[in-house]
């Protein structure tokens, strides 16, 4: 199993797309945090710092994409044939990808946290404020956001294994996050806090006045449940299908 997981990292770093995605994610972090200060939020308020760090959570979308590409990308380029010829136990292949891309999510989250830290330090310095990482709730937000990336990496593998069509899975995931969850959220009221992106958002640990929200820990557990459900359904249905 260790060899299977390592093989996923090997595949990952022999192509450019993952590095490009992680680079774009850093631009999102820098742009998002700059937006917070350009809007004129108080640099001395700890809430501003936590809002800045919450952008580490937003880049979980990139961890999700990497997870989707791990399976659906192999179907797209037909490298899945060689993968299954080397490891005919397809459930093990998907399991290794879950472990690998949860780890990749952790990496994306940590790199993004460093980028966020640097961006915040520069902005606060410019505004004459000082960055105090010991202030209440800051680490809670940083760690929660990194774990959101971990969970979304695993969820991505589940989505990719279930859908198998790369463009369909990527487009479906983005449309879900940008459109469907908002619409469904309005229809189901408070139950919307159980939806995957909303559950991820809860992991930022920011207060959400007027909106029902899970606790950080519950948000993480809900995402783990989504990942497990997607993978379980995929392994018992789509992944068993003929590779032609």
């Amino acid at each position: 199993m260790t060899r299977l997981v390592h093989n996923e990292f090997f595949k990952l770093h022999t192509t450019r797309a993952p590095f490009l995605l992680v680079a774009i994610a850093q631009l999102v972090v820098v742009g998002g945090i700059s937006g917070v200060f350009l809007m004129g939020k108080d640099p001395n308020d700890v809430a501003t710092v936590r809002l800045g760090f919450s952008h580490v959570g937003i880049v979980a979308i990139f961890s999700l994409m990497l997870g989707i590409m791990a399976v659906a990308g192999e179907y797209r380029h037909k490298t899945i044939t060689d993968t299954y010829l080397a490891t005919p136990q397809r459930g093990r292949v998907v399991g290794a990808k879950v472990v690998a891309y949860a780890t990749v999510g952790a990496g994306v989250g940590m790199v993004s946290a460093v980028t966020a830290l640097a961006t915040l330090a520069i902005w606060m310095n410019a505004k004459g404020a000082s960055l105090d990482l010991g202030a209440s709730g800051i680490w809670q937000t940083i760690v929660g956001c990194i774990v959101w990336n971990v969970c979304f990496g695993a969820v991505g593998v589940g989505v990719g294994a279930l859908v198998r069509n790369l463009s369909g899975a990527v487009a479906g995931a983005l449309v879900w996050i940008a459109l469907v969850e908002g619409i469904v959220g309005q229809l189901v009221g408070d139950s919307a806090r159980w939806l995957p992106f909303r559950a991820g958002g809860a992991m930022e640990g920011l207060p959400s006045p007027g909106v029902a929200q899970l606790s950080q820990v519950a948000g993480g557990l809900v995402l783990v449940a989504y990942a497990a459900a997607f993978v379980a359904v995929a392994v018992t249905t789509t992944i068993r299908r003929d590779v032609t």
Binding site: K78, T79, T81, D82, T87, V243
Partner: protein, 247 residues
């Protein structure tokens, strides 16, 4: 002893039966040609043999066990299925390094197979820049990586130029002489005639002939092929039953 034994293999895609009760064995030490017109069911039969497609009925065994039950499948079986199974952004060398790693082979083995298929300096270029013939050579390198006793190659001469075809012919003969089991599908008859020892001919998913090349009826392989794969005629059925009786 490394052999492929296929028994009553049948596959339905929806209502369409693409492979219908095909059975044959592939012995070691010789090259066996797997022939049939396009759409005859060759690729589906090979994919079932490799565990990629689940048979509706029947089974395919390699060394007595199904592919999925082989302990280290890539060290036993080398397969080339189609020239498109590469990530376009990965170099040929990296493609092989990934496969060597998952198979537990030393990195040095990658250089050996690259030399064997003569891919040359292109090995470090991205696969998106490769011609069809170069992709075919890379696919062959991947198949040979685990030094397998069994080779299953689907249309390996696709995209090769005449020099490449001659090279492939010599390579396959050398591999068979080493005692390996070599199964090669093709629809290019003239190519096969100079290479194979045994032939398996299928048409419409049904076995038409299996046996030595020399045992085929008619003047040439082409004659035999055309008569065996034409609309089922009494003559072809007779030939098939003769071949079955002669085994």
């Amino acid at each position: 002893m490394a052999t492929i034994a296929i028994d009553g293999l049948t596959k339905d895609f929806g209502k369409h039966r693409v492979v219908n009760g095909v059975g044959f064995t592939v012995p070691e030490g010789v090259i066996t040609g797997f022939l049939g017109p396009n759409g005859a069911g060759k690729t589906t039969t090979l994919r079932m043999t490799l565990g990629l497609v689940t048979p509706t009925r029947g089974r395919a065994l390699i060394n007595g066990v199904p592919y999925a039950r082989l302990a280290e499948p890539r060290r036993v079986v080398g397969a080339l299925l189609e020239a498109t199974g590469f990530h376009p952004g990965r170099s040929g060398r990296d493609h092989l390094r990934v496969l060597a790693h998952i198979t537990g082979l030393p990195a040095g083995r990658v250089d050996e197979v690259l030399e064997l298929v003569d891919l040359g300096p292109a090995a470090d270029d991205r696969v998106r820049t490769y011609s069809l013939g170069m992709k075919q050579r890379l696919g062959l390198a991947a198949a040979l990586l685990g030094d397998p006793e069994v080779l299953i190659l689907d249309e390996p001469s696709n995209g090769l130029d005449p020099a490449g075809m001659a090279w492939l012919r010599d390579l396959l003969k050398k591999l068979a002489r080493e005692g390996r089991t070599v199964l090669v599908s093709s629809h290019v008859l003239s190519e096969v005639q100079q290479t194979v020892d045994n032939v398996v001919i299928i048409q419409d998913g049904t076995l038409r002939y299996t046996g030595p090349l020399a045992g085929l009826p008619g003047e040439s392989l082409e004659d035999a092929f055309l008569s065996l794969t034409a609309v089922p005629s009494p003559a072809s059925k007779l030939a098939a039953s003769q071949s079955a009786a002669s085994k």
